[in-house]
Amino acid sequence: MNNLLDSFSNFSYRNKNFIFLSFLILPLLWLGIVYLGSLLIFLGHSFFHLDGFTGQIVYEFSFKTLIELFSSPANIDILIRTVALAACVTIGSAIIGFPIAYYMAKFTSPKVKIFLFIAIMLPLWSSYLVRVYSWKLILAKEGIINWFFEKLNLEWLLDTILSTPVIGGPSLSISYIGMFLVFTYIWLPFMILPIQASLERVPNSLINASHDLGANKRQTFYKIILPLALPGIIAGSIFTFSLTLGDYIIPYIIGTSKFFIGQAVYTHQGTAGNIPLAAAFSLVPIVVMVVYIYIAKRMGAFNAL
């Protein structure tokens, strides 16, 4: 027995990799089997298809489901709708988030900075659902925004905005404008924080040097600050973009009941038993994100994380 233990300890002493691996094997198995394994099995289903007559899944390799996904105009609508909204939300968050992050990184005292950090993080501590439901009330026809416009005798302005084709609707909460506002609000912290981190890293000496060399404020911003902060913006946009792509709760509560990818996946696998189509739908955000992250990586977005 002692012999066996001796040789075991000798073996593990000589083979450092063995010890290393034996500690790592459990988390690796977890990641490999439970996480990646189930994900791959699920995605693999998109190469099977549903038998039109019995409603059973046919376990034969084919592209039928993927063809169904891309040949039905209703499905294409869902994909375009989701990607377009995710892109708008990302751009909106970047435009709103950048000035806040810039102010936090360059113009505040440490105390104010901590206060701003907490102010930005605070909404994340309350329930996501509570925040979305309260937005439904804020945006409602008899909600506070409408009331505000009425008090200012500006109903005509709101009505004009809401009568815009496509993005308008009977009330703010029943329109794409409302969805855009809510998504932007919900994901904004995920945009501000990475931008703030990347702006912190822009050395003040570079900005001073730029001024010394005769660049005006606008030139300094576009030639020095923005390029150096770009990785942060891209990192933030990965959050806002992918989170919007996959969300299925906000479209249920706000908007016109038109489906988004997340809802399509949920409904097809949950109530319809059409797992192949659900899997095909979930392939799309993954492919979109892989392409996006690849481009982002080329632009150096991950150096800022």
């Binding site: 105009p73 439904k136 026809k141 008899e142 016109t256 009941s257 409904t267 097809h268 109530t271």
Partner: protein, 412 residues
């Protein structure tokens, strides 16, 4: 079962793959062993299903695990007056544990996992579980109050197969047309056309963007029911059993409805918010919302001439229930105690024991009538559309309802 099947397929594909890669000659041998193994596993899994129901009750086991819809099993913790669990626990000594489920599919999945004794299954889940042998036949002689059940429900098709009973009716209810009395000028709308066809309401404004519809694919049945009344030429016999032509006609009606509906509803409380804050005036709905909205909003409900869709739930016993005696005692309790009347009041539903309609303070003297007990014959109870149907040669199955309803919501 679904999962184990797909697992088998994967392992088969895997073996195929490995064999091809290694150029293995005895692939047949490997497959044989694999098939034997899987056969053995499946046999173990399915052998424990007993055939005949028990013939007499033993002593209670002290525990009962229930899968139920939210709000179905109340012990006075939400509102103190609504409690139908404490008395059961006291008299039988069976402690009740509840797992709530949000959808029928979730219920079926939980029951397939096992570890539960009974489930309050709706019409779409019940037959699936009977076919899947997840639930067992019950002996109605062991439930003394069985004969007090509404005669129309005792042998209902969603829990009785080949004359065998697989459950005890729990509660039923109907969807109603909820409307704003101000917008309708005090008149009662007599047709569902107020949510299907554009028209000017009594308050002089169009119903466009002021009506709602349920956002589940099962709403197609409501459209089919409407056509069944207004377009007999289509030959619809059952709104859940539609041929291709009848189905397309229903979809066209729903496309027309999409023009009127700003937002569909799928959550009871969100719909209540929409009727309070968004200016909606008419929608298919549940008595639940109507009862809760009435104190604050001028709301009333009706079942129009076309009829209405509805739901009927059944308590079913798991095939491998550990606490069988407690389960039988519960089924007796659900019929004989205050459960029927109080749950009816709580949920806006109708007791399955008609005698429970009188003498309850919570339900009130008119409660059953308000919740629709006289409308039983006008109600088309919820069931899952399947390809092989009784009233037609072949029908459009449910998964297509899902895909097409999503398309309708998207404006296609």
């Amino acid at each position: 079962m679904d999962y184990s099947n797909s697992l088998i397929v994967y392992i088969r594909l895997f073996i195929d793959e490995i064999s091809a890669m290694n150029n293995v000659k005895n692939k047949g041998e490997t497959m044989k062993i694999f098939n034997l193994m899987m056969g053995a596993i499946l046999a173990v899994g399915s052998s424990s299903i007993s055939a005949a129901p028990i013939s007499e009750l033993g002593s209670p086991e002290g525990e009962l695990n229930i899968v139920a819809w939210a709000g179905y099993i109340e012990r006075g913790e939400t509102v103190a007056a609504f409690d139908w669990v404490t008395s059961y626990e006291k008299s039988t000594g069976c402690n009740v544990k509840v797992k709530t489920a949000g959808t029928s599919d979730e219920m079926v999945a939980l029951m397939n996992q096992g570890g539960f004794d009974i489930v309050t299954a709706s019409g779409d889940a019940s037959l699936r579980m009977i076919a899947g042998k997840t639930v067992q036949e019950i002996n109605t002689d062991l439930i003394p109050s069985w004969n007090t059940i509404d005669k129309r429900l005792q042998d209902a098709v969603w829990h009785t197969v080949d004359g065998k009973h697989y459950g005890t009716p729990y509660m039923w209810g109907s969807n109603v047309l909820m409307y704003n009395t101000d917008a309708f000028g005090g008149e009662v709308p007599d047709s569902w056309n107020v949510v299907f066809e554009e028209q000017t309401l009594a308050d002089g404004k169009s119903n466009k963007d002021r009506v709602q519809a349920f956002d589940g694919p099962i709403h197609i049945a409501d459209a089919a029911m409407y056509l069944m009344y207004h377009n007999p030429a289509l030959g619809i016999k059952d709104p859940y059993e539609l041929t291709e032509d009848q189905y397309q006609a229903s979809l066209n009606l729903l496309r027309q409805q999409r023009e009127l509906v700003g937002r569909y509803w799928h959550d009871a409380f969100m719909q209540m918010d929409d009727f309070t804050n968004e200016g909606f005036v008419a929608s298919g709905s549940w008595p639940f919302q109507v009862n809760l909205l009435k104190p604050n909003v001028p709301i009333a409900s009706t079942i129009p001439k076309e009829g209405a869709t509805g739901w009927a739930d059944t308590t079913m016993v798991h095939a491998e229930a550990k606490n069988l005696n407690c389960a039988y005692l519960w089924m007796e309790h659900q019929l004989s105690s205050n459960l029927q009347s109080d749950l009816g009041a709580w949920f806006g539903a109708v007791p399955v024991v008609p005698s429970k309609c009188v003498g309850s303070d919570l339900l009130g003297p008119e409660g059953c009538k308000i919740n629709g007990i006289d409308n039983f014959d006008k109600i088309y109870f919820w069931k899952t559309p399947v390809a092989s149907c009784k009233t037609q040669e072949s029908c459009v199955p449910y998964y297509r309802w899902v895909t097409d309803y999503i398309a309708v919501l998207g404006g296609r």
